[in-house]
């Protein structure tokens, strides 16, 4: 064998060794990696609380499978081949093509060449190959890259395994332990099930710390001194700290009969363990010492169910809803842990669609709101019906989103015509329901009975009177919030409720008391208020209804006129039969009109309209007669007359409506003018008072002394009034008191109450008069109260509140005395008033007189406007009367040179004028609301008569139900807050202020 050949063979053997070494290293790395992977999966499995047996299968299966694969793939496939030198030669040839197959030839054919005598050739080839091989390193043929990569992977897995040991509750070591039969790794079968008879280790000082799943949004909660019962939703991690009564060597935790979980035992007695709640049952510690395993007692583990959201409807939606107004449906959703979204499901026939209402970003546990969507936005056309259901979904990630549903509500979408018709029907029904209530109040005596039992019976009967009204309100889903009718109805019901409440509490058989004159007066006042509110509501409802009927009649008569006109124009081309048929149709239209007319008040207007209809009917009879007799020309001529007659009637009705509108416009202008003049008068009166004040200040010391005295009187008058009131209140319900005592205290209260006004007006005479008038009743009241202590009684028990009443009554007497003293000083000052000031006051009397003349004229205007306003209640006129009286007094004071009193009266007059203006303004607003309601009721006329019309033209949004954006509609909470603040600070017309308040209250509720 040539020496070169030996060198070649050594080179190739070296390659064999290298490759096999690398393969072995790769296999080893893969084996390690597979083992780590199996351990990671198994520990993850155990950490999830799943059965250890399955973990063992995973570990065994995955470990064994991985090991086989790790060995098979690098070794089985390549080990044998790697031992063949020819194979190695081929690899070298592949790496160094310049060998030109000589290496394979030298290695593979060496024997053959030697035999055939071709050794020279062999030697030469070997030499060449040897030379070349000197340039080739073994690492070039078998690089260690794959092996290194495998090891890198193995090391990484090893590190992950180590990490898993740290992170997972059941780490790889525990997984290995489970397989290895160690305590932590014991299988279920290895743990003896605890029995009642079994000895139990004492575990106490249990502290549970709940870490709730993130979706619940609940912060961790720690329960010290727990009885060990765990109560939380699934997915919650519970960290348990406890203490054993005796020392142990190790510990484990078990849930139900599951795998033992690791538990730390510190200082032989302090236990710490964690569990993740999956299922209900019990949990216990296992405590080990000297081959002994003792369970603790079983502690309950309750899985709190994350129920579906509860959806309730706050107000029943009216069955019929205008198609461009929000469905009046309030909803409320509650959930245990959070609401993800709220939708409304709209079902029409077999089709259901969903419209999202809210999708709050922070999944609150309670949400409420109004539907805020119109039938149109819900996809309903006017006239269509649908079933609505509010549906909410919770944010349960563990068990999946659960759905809660509200009760189903059926609604019908109304067009303008339908809305107007419905509103008119509602208004009529409510008016008719209120009339018997009013009648009953009007005819009964006040008070209606004299005994307690009869008054109680009356209260029950009075409550029943309102039932039909309440039923209608509930059946109709209420009227539009904020509308005039709604306000009036509320007023009616509230005033009735106040009256009935008062009757029940005053005539209470369970707490009998003496009925005072004040009680009776109060009852009479409340009774009167109930009547007034009913009268106002009935009248306005009736006016609205009559207006709606008139509008309806106008529309119908216009239709009739155009029908008649068309008939007259086509008559020359018509045959007799056709003419008669058209006349029949016309007669039907007239019958409808007559039916509408019957809803009017049975007065002259109705008679007039009926008369015109009769005329028309008669003419039609004549036309029919002419047609039947073949007098077609006569018939046609009469048809023209008929058309004109009907046209005249239609025009007459329209003229009447236009005249009504024009009258209202004029009234509005007159009211506005009166309000402007009132404002001016008020300003002028204040300016005059300011001027007077200025002069008094300029004229020195005397003024400030007087002012000081008046301030003292202010305080005393206030105290007197307050004490007087408290003295009456101290008698409570009057039990134990003599009626006379209570009556005297009531008189005292009445007298002291009137002093404040006089003082405020700086009216020395009136104040003196009032104070002196009160002195005697005060003395009398004080004495009678004192006598309550000494008078004989059945039970010798003093009445409740006697001390207080005595104290207050006595103090009132003192206050009055002090007031008289101050008044004396004032009178003295008054007499010594600066002559210049007196002169100045007298000079001003002429100006005051001029103002008073303006006031008198204006009072007439205000009265005239108020009388004409359908919503007028006389309060503006009353305020003007009081203003006039104050002006009168002011004038008198000024003429007498009493500047201080004059100014007081002037300011009082200005206040009353301001009050009159406000009252008038309020009434005007109500009238505007009335006009708005009338417009809505006449929606039938405003629309084009098509029930299915598109409502864009009619989409006058209800100002009472503004579309409120939800917080999530804003990009950021800051934006939302900013928008909120901007909105709140914005000014709105007076009539919309209540609406604005309602709007922001609703916003805050979101």
């Amino acid at each position: 064998m040539p020496p070169a050949l030996s060198t070649i063979r050594e080179f190739l053997d070296g390659l064999v060794r290298r490759e096999r070494t690398l393969l072995a290293a790769q296999a080893g790395a893969q084996l390690l990696g597979a083992g780590c992977l199996a351990l990671i999966v198994a520990s993850a499995w155990l950490s999830m609380g799943w059965r250890p047996a399955e973990a063992a299968w995973i570990l065994g299966g995955l470990g064994a499978g991985g090991a086989v694969l790790a060995l098979v793939f690098p070794l089985a496939m390549r080990w044998q081949a790697s031992g063949q030198t020819l194979q190695q030669a081929r690899r070298v040839e592949a790496h160094a093509p310049e060998l030109e197959h000589r290496l394979v030839t030298v290695v593979g054919r060496a024997d053959l060449l030697a035999v055939e005598g071709r050794a020279v050739l062999l030697e030469r080839a070997a030499a060449r190959v040897q030379t070349k091989l000197g340039e080739i390193a073994a690492v070039d043929i078998h690089p260690s890259t794959t092996s290194l990569r495998a090891w890198a992977m193995a090391v990484a897995l090893l590190l992950i395994t180590g990490l898993a040991q740290l992170v997972f509750p059941q780490g790889p070591l525990q997984a290995v332990a489970v397989l290895g039969g160690q305590p932590a790794g014991e299988t279920v079968g290895d743990v003896p099930p605890p029995t009642e008879a079994a000895e139990r280790a004492v575990v106490g000082d249990i502290v549970l710390r709940y870490v709730f799943p993130a979706y619940t949004g609940i912060d961790p909660v720690e329960i010290p001194n727990s009885d060990g019962t765990i109560h939380a939703p699934a997915g919650t991690t519970v960290q348990i700290r406890a203490r054993t009564a005796t020392p142990f060597e190790s510990a484990a935790l078990q849930v139900n009969d599951g795998t033992l979980l690791s538990a730390d035992l510190l200082s032989d007695r302090d236990l710490y363990a964690e569990l993740v709640i999956r299922e209900p049952g019990v949990w216990r510690f296992w405590l080990m010492a000297s081959e002994e395993r003792i369970p603790s007692k079983d502690f309950n583990l309750v899985v709190e169910e994350d129920g579906a959201p509860v959806v309730t409807l706050e107000s029943g939606a009216s069955p019929a809803v205008p198609y461009d107004r929000p469905v009046p449906l309030g909803w409320n959703v509650r959930d245990d842990f959070g609401i993800e979204r709220v939708v409304v499901e709209v079902t029409q026939g077999d089709q259901t669609r969903e419209v999202e209402l809210r999708a709050p970003p922070n999944t609150p546990r309670e949400l409420r709101g109004a539907l805020r969507l119109t039938p149109r936005e819900l996809g309903l056309q006017p006239g269509e019906s649908a079933k609505l259901k509010v549906v909410a979904y919770d944010n349960d990630l563990a068990g999946g989103n659960k759905r809660g549903e509200s009760a189903e509500v059926e609604i019908t979408s109304l067009g303008p015509r339908g809305r107007g018709r419905r509103l008119a029907q509602q208004t009529e029904a409510l008016r008719d329901a209120m009339i018997p209530v009013l009648a009953a109040y009007l005819v009964e005596a006040v008070p209606p009975a004299e005994t307690v039992s009869r008054m109680r019976a009356w209260a029950g009967e009075a409550r029943l009177r309102y039932e039909p009204v309440r039923d209608l309100v509930e059946a109709g889903g209420g009227l539009q919030e904020g509308a005039l009718q709604d306000d009036l109805l509320k007023d009616v019901l509230e005033s009735g409720a106040r009256l009935i409440r008062f009757a029940i509490t005053t005539w209470d058989p369970a707490a009998p008391r003496r009925i005072t004159a004040g009680d009776l007066q109060r009852f009479a006042d409340l009774h009167g208020e109930a009547i007034v509110s009913l009268e106002k509501a009935i009248y306005i409802f009736d006016s609205l209804m009559v207006s709606a009927v008139m509008a309806d009649i106008a529309r119908a008569s216009e239709g009739l006129a155009s029908e008649a006109q068309e008939l007259a124009s086509r008559a020359p081309d018509m045959e007799a039969a056709e003419l008669l048929a058209r006349l029949d149709k016309l007669a039907r239209t007239m019958a409808e009109l007559a039916q509408k007319t019957s809803k009017l008040n049975d007065g002259s207007l109705q008679e007039y309209l009926n008369g015109r209809l009769d005329d028309t009917k008669n003419l039609m009879d004549q036309i029919r007669k002419a047609v039947s007799e073949g007098r077609m020309d006569d018939a046609r001529e009469m048809l023209a007359q008929l058309a004109e007659q009907v046209q005249q009637m239609a025009e007459g009705i329209n003229d009447r409506m236009a005249a009504g509108q024009s009258g209202e416009d004029q009234l509005g202008e007159a009211a506005q003018q009166a309000m402007d003049e009132l404002k001016q008068l008020e300003q002028d009166q204040r300016a005059l008072a300011d001027e007077l004040e200025q002069k008094r200040q300029e004229m020195g010391q005397e003024f400030s002394e007087q002012l000081e005295l008046w301030n003292q009187l202010d305080a005393l008058a206030k105290e007197g009034a307050e004490r007087g009131r408290l003295a009456v209140e101290a008698t409570g319900d009057g039990r134990g008191w003599r009626a006379e005592s209570v009556r005297r205290l009531e008189i005292l209260n009445e007298r002291t109450g009137g002093i404040e006004d006089a003082v405020r007006a700086r009216d020395l005479d009136r104040t003196g008069e009032r104070v002196r008038e009160a002195v005697r009743p005060a003395e009398s009241a004080r004495r009678t109260v004192l006598m309550e202590r000494t008078r004989s009684r059945m039970d010798d028990r003093l009445p409740d509140g006697l001390d207080a009443a005595e104290g207050h009554a006595g103090r009132v007497r003192e206050v009055l005395g002090e007031m008289l003293a101050v008044l004396d000083q004032l009178e003295d000052r008054q007499q010594r008033d600066d002559p210049r000031m007196q002169q100045a006051a007298q000079d001003m009397a002429a100006q005051q007189q001029e103002l008073q003349e303006r006031q008198q004229q204006l009072q007439k205007d205000v009265q005239s406007v108020e009388r004409a306003l359908p919503t007028g209640d006389g309060q503006a006129t009353e305020a003007m009367q009081r203003a006039g009286e104050a002006m009168e007094r002011a004038g008198g004071s000024l003429e007498g040179g009493e500047a201080m009193a004059g100014e007081g009266h002037q300011r009082e007059a200005a206040e009353r004028i301001s009050e009159a203006r406000q009252r008038l303004e309020q009434q005007m607003q109500q009238m505007q609301q009335m006009q708005q309601a009338r417009g809505e009721m006449q929606g039938e006329q405003q629309g084009d008569g098509n029930e299915g019309e598109d409502g864009d033209a009619q989409a006058d949004r209800d100002p009472g139900s503004i579309d409120i954006p939800a917080p999530e509609d804003f990009q950021t909470p800051e934006e939302y807050r900013r928008a909120l603040l901007e909105g709140m600070s914005g000014d709105v017309p007076e009539e919309y202020r209540a609406m604005k308040q309602q709007y922001f209250e609703e916003l805050v509720r979101q």
Binding site: P436, E535, G611, D614, N618, E644, G652, R656, R867, A868
Partner: protein, 529 residues
């Protein structure tokens, strides 16, 4: 024909035209004067003198005659011919409603009896015809006699079915009609009347017809020289004479107005109604003006007796000053002395001192019941309580309704006739007929023209068997508003019960007219010519 002869022909024609032009103009002027004097016969004679070849003059004459004779379509045709001939329409019309009248009268039918003719709109107004003819005939007899003479032509009365049509034919601005409540006119030698049906509760239309006829007779007899105050005084004072009532009784409202004027000295100045009563500020002012002048006539007649009227006509017609003539006939040196004496006489009259309001005129269903009430029309705040009372009453809560009606009354204001009527209905329903009767009698005394009170009183009296008194009230109710079927039924029954078969038959027929809508044979549409 030579050229010279032709020239001569043209000259002759020109001369003829120059001579005849002024003659025709004089004729038209003369005709205008005749018409102004309400002398239709005179106008006709003048018209006959207008040569037919002068078509414009002839058309002018035809226009005026047709319009005054009530041939409105002919008038419009003549008007159109004149327009086609280039005559300026404004010049012709001069505020005379030729076309509106024709429009308003379209479809009306005419019924003639002797020297009087009534035209009305077919239908329920048929019920008026017979009695309208009766009134006209009686008026002609009575007033032609007392004033010395009457117009020789057929007197035409147009009854317009609605106020709108009346306004159209009257030429008076609608606002004036609505303010003063003028619902009838004597103009263009015709009488124009608004049907009582146009007012919800009717009105005293028969006396109104007589009133308007007096205007016509006075204008005719004085050649239209009687001033408005005299016209109105005579018409007002004598308007009941046609039915034999010459008592000169003043209704409570008029008495109240006069009493107040006497007390305060605030009478309506004559100059204020110099042109027409239609231009007075309010119905209340018009009522006082009527009261003033009618009592002046009454005061004069107390001295002269009815025979003084003819003298008055003659002297005023001869151009004597009306005020002086009246004063002279009454025995005073001048009108001022007469006026002072009249005031003194007024003070001696037992006038009702209570201030009553005149009933508002509500036309063509322009208002509801409350707008037709003197108190409630002015006080919408009180009308609210009345409406509440009505709502309660309609639903049978009569006691409660009475309380609301009481709230609707204002003791410082004139009593409301509507409330009187409503309260009476409630008392009746509550079986308190005596109280109802007391109220109704008071109502009749205060507001005799308030039909619902008359009707209720008549019905209640009939139920109590007081037939004569019931007939009296129902008769008044019928005279005011004949369109109430219940009134016709009651009258039929009552007349039957007292054996007055012709009257019963008449009211039965009226009932029939109402039931059938006034469809009757024998009516003929007014022919254009």
């Amino acid at each position: 024909m030579s050229r010279a002869f032709r020239r001569l022909q043209w000259v002759a024609l020109g001369a003829a035209l120059l001579c005849s032009g002024p003659a025709q103009a004089d004729a038209l002027l003369e005709m205008e004067v005749c018409l102004d004097h309400f002398d239709l016969e005179c106008a006709r004679q003048v018209r006959d003198r207008v040569p037919s070849w002068d078509t414009i003059a002839a058309d002018r004459a035809e226009l005026w005659m047709a319009f005054h004779e009530g041939r409105y379509t002919d008038a419009v045709v003549a008007l159109e011919r004149l327009e086609q001939a280039g005559v300026r329409v404004e010049e012709l019309e001069r505020g005379v409603p030729y076309r509106p009248t024709a429009e308003s009268a379209r479809g009306m039918v005419e019924v003639t009896r002797g020297e009087v003719a009534v035209r009305y709109s077919p239908g329920l107004d048929r019920i008026l015809v017979d009695e309208a003819l009766d009134v006209l005939e009686a008026s002609r007899t009575v007033y032609d006699d007392v004033f010395g003479a009457g117009p020789p032509q057929v007197i035409v009365l147009d009854i317009f079915p609605t106020a709108t049509r009346f306004i159209g034919a009257s030429g008076i601005p609608p606002e004036s009609v609505r303010t003063t409540g003028v619902i009838a006119l004597s103009k263009w030698t015709r009488l124009l009347l608004t049907s009582p049906r146009a007012l919800g509760r009717g009105y005293g239309w028969k006396d109104t017809v007589a009133h308007e006829y007096i205007h016509l007779v006075v204008a005719y007899n004085t050649r239209n020289r009687a001033p408005v105050w005299l016209q109105e005084g005579l018409a007002k004072h004598l308007e009941t004479w046609w039915r034999g009532d010459r008592s000169g009784h003043l209704d409570a409202h008029t008495q109240g107005l006069l009493a107040e004027a006497v007390r305060t000295g605030k009478f309506v100045p004559f100059k204020k109604f110099a042109r027409s009563m239609a231009y007075l500020d309010s119905g209340e002012e018009a009522a006082l003006a009527f009261a003033q002048v009618s009592t002046m006539i009454q005061f004069m007649l107390e001295t002269t007796g009815p025979t003084g009227l003819a003298t008055l006509m003659t002297r005023v017609g001869d151009g004597e000053d009306a005020q002086g003539t009246v004063a002279d006939l009454a025995g005073y040196d001048d009108f001022e002395t007469f006026r002072m004496a009249w005031r003194a006489w007024l003070r001696g009259l037992p006038l009702v001192q209570e201030q009553l309001a005149s009933l508002p005129v509500v036309l063509d269903g322009e208002g509801d019941d409350y707008e037709g009430d003197p108190l409630l029309a002015e006080r919408p705040d009180l009308a609210r309580f009345a409406r509440l009372g009505d709502l309660l009453r309609q639903r049978g809560h009569h006691e409660a309704a009475l309380i609301e009606y009481a709230k609707a009354a204002d003791p410082e204001q004139p009593p409301s006739p509507l409330l009187i009527a409503r309260r009476a209905v409630c008392h009746e329903a509550l079986d308190r007929p005596e109280e109802a009767l007391r109220l109704l009698k008071l109502g009749v005394e205060l507001y005799p023209e308030f039909t619902p009170i008359q009707k209720s009183l008549g019905r209640l009296l009939a139920e109590r068997g007081q037939v004569r008194a019931a007939l009296a009230s129902l008769r008044v109710a019928h005279d005011l508003n004949p369109y109430d079927p219940e009134v016709q039924r009651l009258l039929t029954e009552l007349y039957t019960s007292v054996g007055d078969e012709p009257a019963a038959r008449r009211h039965r027929r009226y009932g029939q007219i109402l039931a059938t809508g006034g469809v009757e044979d024998g009516e003929s549409v007014v022919e254009p010519g």
